[in-house]
Symmetry: C2
Subunit: 351 residues, 2 copies
């Protein structure tokens, strides 16, 4: 289902006077499955359109090496994998990540899993796609602190990388550059999908894939209105909303100084608007929210109920929602640790 | 070949008046292969005696997770894999590693690959075996900065770990403790062998596995006396020698304050004595020496020639030795990124 469809549905629901409570009546398996199919799509095995990319396999193999290579950072201690640890849900388990020289940023590391299916990248959506996104942390002074020429010097110093860039970008006169580095990284990240979660199997017709509590949670998720933001294939990641739509969140959840999309769009109306995060694999990626202020799912659920939906959720509602969210944990792809090329005499040293 | 055998051979060579130059005459394939077989053994596919360990497979699976889990550190940002990066030869490519809060130690991170086959662990051999070694960095205040109780609290908070420790240590009343954590980690690390290098294939009878330059390098390696320390299955790792046996190394190679084994054994005669490092996969693990002071293999070779063997090696000798060392790069095992258990409400938070 595309965003536009959902918006139209939302408008129709409002016009027809339906409220979320009208949806809260107990529904049978079939009715619930139908509702779910209306709001969500199962995760695909691979991202759309990647078949159109030339030498995609070569780009992925190269991109995987780059993703794990700390030599893309100035100190040669920080790789993409440092903060997007594939062993811990594609994030790092910290409120905010630790980058160059121990510096910390203001935002929680979002998962890389299924990120290709989002409407845009970063919490404020300032990067249109993965290709635009992956370069950001590499040159950010508080993250990997490298530069375009330094990245090229590092990669050009290793014959194995020279050969792999050549294979991945055979049309280019100079296969190694910052732009091709980003393309290869984006190609790899686009393969990091986690299909076949219990929820996906439920959407595909297996009504036993969710247990009773999880089905109750799904029903609440729809009825309470969580689905207004967390919808579509990524159960989020496809729209922007104000954090604090109903009530102002506490500062530990929404620090005053991080104004979200208003800094990107230069529009006051966008203050505290953030991209709705995906909820896929959410049980693996605590702490939650853009500043990593909520350490448990139950805390995050309660906060969302109040700040976004104007509802004080009961313990039972929270529990049902939480067990439903556990059903969004998919199957991780086979993740190999790559063998990185050996440094040479020409490889710039860590600083 | 065991250490004791080598020592006896060394004594016999000395008694018979042989010098390294006597070995330096050009030898044919067969003669060189025979010499090599005398000094070295091919890497095995698995470590000896592991079949005797109960529930070894379960311990390895658990140990692999622990190896990658940053939650074993106080800040939850440092895992074993941070400094023993399996993508970069089992080390970290830095002179000295960066640990808790950005602190650095005094020694270069040694590779974990093939470490089980060493005579002892750490540069100064202060840990008898891997089980004794793996606990050290976890509780070192400048490395992972955790404690025995904190490690147990973290692991006990995650039901998946509870189940895995139970499966790996079914005889234990309390399967999760620091001791079992070390046993599981050691079991995993003991599987990190890199057999089937060109040199191994040469030792196994394939005379074409080394090219001419590499064979010339091997011949030099034996004739010059490198083999006096770098011998046996790990081409090192099975004895202790003074760094500076012939000439004092420059301070950047041997900082005055790190006295090596004399700190461990409380014996002045052990000053600047260190465990001889393995040379397996050495091309992947720059920088070199215990303080990481030499950034390239050619530099390290030159320094070794002078400080250990009292020889100013020619450019040609260095080149031959270097290409021979490249033949020690083995096949890495299939290295999966594990899926780590999700934190729970009871999991202690990073500090």
């Amino acid at each position: 289902m595309r965003v536009i469809d959902f918006c139209m549905v939302g408008i129709l629901l409002l016009l027809s006077g339906w409220t979320s409570s009208a949806l809260a009546v107990a529904v049978g398996h079939n009715a619930l499955a139908k509702q779910a199919a209306f709001y969500f799509d199962p995760l695909p095995d691979k991202a759309p359109s990647i078949d159109l990319i030339d030498n995609f396999e070569e780009k992925v193999i190269l991109g995987q090496r780059l993703f794990f290579d700390p030599r893309l950072s100035l100190s040669q201690t920080v790789s993409c994998h440092s903060c997007h640890n594939l062993a811990t849900g594609g994030a790092d388990g910290l409120s905010v990540s630790v980058g160059h020289g121990g510096q910390t940023g203001a935002r929680n590391s979002p998962t890389v899993f299924n990120s290709v299916l989002q409407i845009a990248q970063f919490w404020d959506g300032r990067a249109r796609d993965l290709v635009e996104q992956v370069g950001g942390p590499i040159v950010s002074s508080i993250e990997m602190a490298s530069t375009d020429p330094l990245v090229c010097a590092v990669l050009s110093s290793m014959p194995e990388y020279v050969a792999e860039f050549g294979a991945a970008f055979p049309q280019r006169k100079k296969p190694i550059c910052f732009s091709t580095t980003k393309l290869a990284l984006a190609a790899y990240v686009s393969t990091l999908l986690t299909p076949d979660s219990p929820f996906d199997r439920y959407l595909q017709g297996d009504e036993h894939a969710l247990n009773e509590d999880q089905q109750a949670g799904l029903q609440q998720f729809i009825a309470l209105g969580c689905v207004q933001c967390h919808t579509s294939v990524n159960v989020g990641g496809n729209s922007y909303y104000r954090f604090g739509a109903a009530h102002e969140p506490e500062p530990r959840y929404r620090p005053a100084e991080d104004v979200g999309r208003s800094a990107v769009m230069d529009m006051v109306t966008q203050a505290y608007v953030f991209k709705v995060p995906t909820l896929r694999n959410v049980e693996l990626t605590a702490p939650y929210f853009h500043a990593g202020g909520a350490w448990t799912l139950s805390e995050a659920i309660k906060v969302m109920g109040w700040t976004q939906l104007d509802k004080k959720l009961s313990a039972k509602q929270c529990k049902h929602l939480e067990v439903f969210l556990h059903s969004l944990t998919g199957k991780l792809p086979q993740l190999q640790v790559p063998k990185l090329p050996a440094a040479t005499e020409r490889t710039p040293r860590p600083q």
